[in-house]
Amino acid sequence: MNLDFTAEQDVFRAEVRDWLHDNVPKEKRPIIGDETLVYDKAWQKKQYDAGWAGISWPVEYGGRGLSLIQQLIWFEEYAKAQAPYLGNFFVALSHAGPTVIARGTERQKAYHLPRILKGESPWCQGFSEPNSGSDLASLSTRAYVDGEHLVVNGSKIWTSFAQHADYQELLVRTDPDAGSKHSGITWVIGDMHLPGVDVRPISCMDGASHFCQVFYDNVRIPLENVVGDLNAGWSVAMTTLGFERGTAALAEQIAMAREIERLIELSKTRLGPDGVRPAIKDDLIAARLATLRAECAALKAMSYASISRAQRDFVPGAEGTLIATYNSEMLQRVYRMGADLMGDEMLDLDASEDRWTYEYYRSTLQTIAGGTSEIRRNIIGERLLGLPRDR
């Protein structure tokens, strides 16, 4: 067991660090609106042009073809450089691209992967539906084959970035009479600009519109856009879910560690609950901050262990769910700590120059999106511990 990097990796890290240092945008990423699209495209293109896009993606599609560890180094330095959130390219880079690499046709790869890496095509996800949230496999958005097309009718919800996306990872029910609800589902690349696609934003408690509902009215998608086989979409979707975690998660964790250190700094300058001493002198606040430090260290260790297993081609188990659960609930504690440190000023969003209240509100979603904490605990209990299913 080891925490060292090879000399070659150290050289790679130095290159990454230098480039990021010189090239990370000076302007902060906008939070909402069309400016985000302009910003995200420009930043992704900049990375691509300098040869930093798709570190571990195949060379033939514009990637660098490097190892997981180099990918990890990239993310570590990316986070340390406080480089921007992937935003509109999050789905494309973290889910859609890896799925196409794993399960797509040659033609799909050749068309989509470079467009993603070059910052041309943002993607969105199209999994959840109004009546299919935790029970994803019960989805009912219907698609029937008509000649060379799938004709889609129905609706998807909780779709982030749908306003700006060019493409969508779309799960549709193509065989309603299949034996089980997991059968009869197809994973298809949806073009968001097709006639019949209607995107409506949903207003959220943090003041930013994270989500959209997307409606499909006889939307005709070419059959060649199907990834994997017709009616085999569930297994393709499961591939994608695996990508949700991994090296990208490490970047988030490094960002979280930085947030915790910022909280410790904040606690030295802000007054504590007694209104007299700095917050850090309050034993309860100090205990909370120390625990966050420890938990974040554990999270980092868990992620390193997970990447180490992946390097050795171990079949990934439910341990990604362990990490995701721990991570998401810790984030809520981190931002609640931030809001608490703001004291009465947490009620004043303009006073929260560091946006702690905003982040606190936003963190509410952590235990819901991408699988609720309840569903995640079911997965851990059933797949990792072998307890009997309850559904």
Partner: protein, 340 residues
Amino acid sequence: MVDLVATDEQQQIANSVAEYLRAELPLDRLTKKGKANSDTDHAKWKAMAELGWFGLGLPEEQGGIGYSEVEEAFLYREMGRLLVTPSAIAASLGARVAAGAGNGELAAAIISGEVRPAITIATSVGEVGPRVSGRYQLFDGAEADLALFLSADGAALVERRALNDLKVSRSGDDALSLELADLNGAPTVAYVGADAGIRRNGLLLAAAMLAGMCEATRDMASAYAKIREQFGQPIGKFQAVKHKCADMAIRADAVNALVAFASITVRDRRADADFQVAAAKLLGAQYALLNAKENIQVHGAIGFTTDLPAHLFLKRAHVLDHFGGAVRRQQMDLLAQPAA
């Protein structure tokens, strides 16, 4: 004789308040795009005043209705359930301040709804006396006539126009406007010292609202758990959801009983009133925050949207938590009390 069940009369008051609010200020008034408490509650201000709400706990000789803090707690619990503006607290307290300061005319004007005060929360160590100094947040005060200031030293009313350099800020509670005031010896229109117990009344009213919010979130979550289906069954059948709802019920029951108990100790000027009120305020805030968060969780992503009022319960709970001193402050105050 010891009795913690509402009398018929008390129950009637609670029922009539609940009935009025459900009809006139239903929760979904706040889920319409961009709607704040001011858009809806202010239009009903005079009507609420005419129902006697802002003078409910004041003696008749002070221009009040002549009920007590006990009935007032019922009123505020119902208001909390429907997220009525905390300006109501400012009115009930403001009438007391005015009456206590001998300004019967102002008390009457507040009680009748002609003059509307708003609450403030101190963000610095200030001074509340015949003149008021310090930095404050003013909630839902954009169209108010008066601002109410509370501290351990007393309670005061200041005219809004005497608040110089008010700065509009973005409120953590979307349904309430927020302005920042920096006062340097602003003149008051009425002031009473600490012995008038206005702060204690304020803590009790906030605790009562928080108790109502605990109930409302419990009800909202369990209603949704009965109708929302996943995996072919109502989600309330799953223990993960069911037990969350049960916890919400425990918290709501605990806070409600404690608020009722505390309101009696205040009415009867019992020696343990400060103890009970601090306990009610701190548990009320803690539990309302927990219930609000769990309510969002039970609803899933829809609970995160502004289509439902779930998020407003969380945000309002934070405002009421900080009003009169947040949980940690209440804990210190409670521990400084003799055993009850």
